[in-house]
């Protein structure tokens, strides 16, 4: 989980998983289709999303209320996934935890993407000094091992949703900047950009009208991979106790609570672990597939 770029680099090496066509045409044909695994992954994410949204409409058991008659109980009709050592309904806690995790993990990439796009577009289009300034900024972000700075900021500034989103968003900036810069450089050489300048378009107009629509596609494809990173980072922070403070349930916190109970009731940790694993895996699978569709082989970053 060192930093996003490393993570994405890691995933890039697994491109082969999606396609196994041996001949070129077979591979092209495969490339056009998403494949069964992609749809399975997408279904998992959709189910999770629907479940989290449904908390607004359907009454779930209160994830905080304790059922003293069922401490660490196995699954039953009352408690679909059983209860934890304090008698809280696991199913509810998973769903509400997902809501919190998703809120943070899905919002921060968007903020990071907005900033990364601005930086990457400017750096790739103007080059020269703008490029150097942006790269120094990015290097400075990467100069801190991510988790340490996150811990520091959350500790000193307080662990609330806003700060969490901001800190995590901050760490997605470098990768978004790199991808948008590489893609911008690719398109900035195309003649339609010169054509726009020949028509008298301002730089801002070229950036927004000519480059952004082209650059945003590959960048958005990457955001799924970045979400898997933010889910893991949020979970790690919660697990360490520097994320959202209780009582709001988060997956990381649930796993951490269950560590004490591993000997008697391992499922208290294992159930949220499973959900988190599946979610990250699904995002990786989808993101990896999406990236193949939009990759520009831009290594000069």
């Amino acid at each position: 989980m060192a930093d996003t770029s490393q993570l994405l680099g890691n995933l890039r090496m697994f491109w082969f998983l999606g396609r196994r066509g041996s001949t070129a045409s077979e591979r092209i044909k495969k490339k056009r289709k998403f494949g069964v695994i992609f749809w399975l992954a997408a279904s998992w994410i959709s189910i999770m999303l629907v479940a989290t949204i449904s908390t607004n409409f359907i009454t779930f058991p209160d994830p905080l209320s304790q059922d003293y008659n069922a401490l660490s109980a196995p699954w039953s009709m009352d408690h679909l996934l059983g209860t934890d050592h304090l008698g809280r309904d696991m199913f509810s806690r998973i769903v509400f935890g997902a809501a919190t995790s998703f809120k943070i993990a899905f919002t921060s990439p968007f903020i990071g993407m907005a900033i990364g796009l601005c930086l990457g577009l400017s750096a790739g289009y103007f080059r020269g000094r703008v490029d150097s300034a942006v790269s120094i900024f990015i290097d400075s972000i990467l100069a801190f091992p991510n988790i340490v700075l996150a811990i520091a900021i959350l500790f000193y500034a307080g662990a609330n949703i806003f700060n969490l989103v901001m800190v995590i968003a901050f760490y997605t900036i470098p990768q978004f900047t790199r991808i948008s810069r590489a893609n911008t450089m690719l398109y900035a050489q195309r003649e339609f950009v010169v054509a726009a300048r020949a028509q008298g378009a301002s730089h801002l107009r070229i950036l927004l009208r000519e480059l952004l629509p082209n650059v945003i596609v590959p960048v958005a494809a990457y955001s799924l991979l970045i979400m898997s990173f933010t889910i893991a980072l949020e979970g790690t922070l919660s697990f360490l106790g520097v994320g959202l403070p209780p009582p709001d349930p988060t997956w990381g916190q649930m796993i951490s609570d269950g560590v004490e109970e591993l000997e008697e009731d391992a499922f208290i940790s294992m159930v949220p672990s499973f959900f988190m694993f599946m979610t990250i895996l699904a995002l990786n699978l989808m993101g990896d597939r999406m990236r193949q569709f939009t990759d520009v082989k831009a290594s000069s970053a």
Partner: protein, 320 residues
């Protein structure tokens, strides 16, 4: 033809910095184009033809020298002042597919110059877009809502021409407009350009490496080598009696021109020297069949050898 000068280019130089080294992509280029004229600009790839074309439209502004368009000096204009001029000074590129933004619809692409110029009347924009698409032979009803990848190269070039024409410009720089197209399509686009020239009263700077293409469309032809002009003369004259050995060498690469085989000596031999480190004296001397000592020592001036026929050579070929 002598309706007055539309474009005057004086001693422009464009320098780039590559790997910490400055080099001039073009140096001391001087030319003028009369209103209604088509000036052809030929040379091998990398000789600075495109750089010249782009320097004229100030993309980028030349490092030195002057460009006057309709009597107005362009170098040193601000972005906003230049924007007004750009409406009358358009460009068409070599690769029509790459000159159209793949993510935008044709109607937005063609209307873009109008919008940049500040036209906010949707109905007027729509009317003008349809009109100009009709003019270039594209059916607006089919074309408007599609994206560039749904068209062939020739159709894309028509769309590019439509985009250039919509502001009713005076001068269009055509930067190898047919080189990327199939031969059969080339002729169509050349004919279209001629028609449009007639219809809109255009002046063209036609850049190409293909002498045969340039011959048919140009009134006068300029030949470039390694960032400098070698020869400039009427189209007829330069093809029939090239005075610069380089021009003559280029002519020999054309299988046949008209019915008269030109005895212009051997075709071009050797490699083009690096523009980073051009030869001393005459730049062509390393490949010139009649190079002499003087050519190494002294750079030939670009001078008149006849009225309207300029050559940069110490020993011009004087046929006839």
């Amino acid at each position: 033809m002598n309706n007055g000068t539309l474009l005057e280019v004086n001693d422009i130089t464009v320098e780039y910095v590559t790997q910490g080294q400055r080099f001039a992509a073009i140096s001391d280029v001087t030319l003028d184009i009369a209103e209604g004229e088509t000036l052809g600009l030929v040379g091998e790839s990398g000789c600075g033809k495109s750089t010249t074309g782009r320097a004229i439209i100030q993309l980028p502004t030349p490092t030195a020298g002057h460009v006057k368009f309709e009597g107005q000096e362009l170098t040193g204009l601000t972005h906003n002042e230049m924007r007004q001029i750009r409406q009358r000074l358009q460009i068409i590129f070599q690769d029509p597919v790459s000159s159209l933004n793949p993510r935008r619809r044709v109607k937005d692409i063609v209307a873009e110059p109008l919008i940049i110029a500040g036209n906010k009347d949707a109905a007027d924009i729509d009317r003008k877009v349809r009109e100009v698409l009709n003019a270039v032979g594209m059916d607006p009803d089919i074309t408007l809502d599609r994206r560039p990848h749904q068209f062939s190269g020739g159709q894309c070039q028509r769309i590019c021409i439509a985009r250039a024409l919509i502001m009713e410009p005076k001068l269009i720089v055509c930067d190898e407009p047919v080189s990327a197209l199939d031969v059969s399509v080339q002729a169509q686009i050349l004919n279209l350009l001629e028609d449009m020239k007639e219809r809109y009263g255009l002046t063209l700077l036609f850049i190409s490496h293909d002498l045969a293409v340039v011959k048919n469309i140009s009134d006068r032809v300029a030949v470039m080598y390694l960032g400098k002009f070698c020869e400039l003369a009427d189209s007829e004259r330069i093809y029939e009696a090239p005075a610069h050995p380089y021009t003559a060498g280029l002519m020999a690469t054309i299988p046949e021109i008209g019915d008269k085989a030109i005895d212009s000596g051997p075709a071009l031999a050797g490699e083009i020297p690096s523009p980073l480190n051009p030869p001393s004296g005459c730049r062509f001397r390393t490949r010139c069949p009649q190079a002499q000592e003087k050519c190494t020592a002294e750079e030939p001036a670009f001078r008149d050898i006849d009225p309207g026929h300029q050559v940069a050579c110490h020993f011009p070929l004087l046929g006839e």
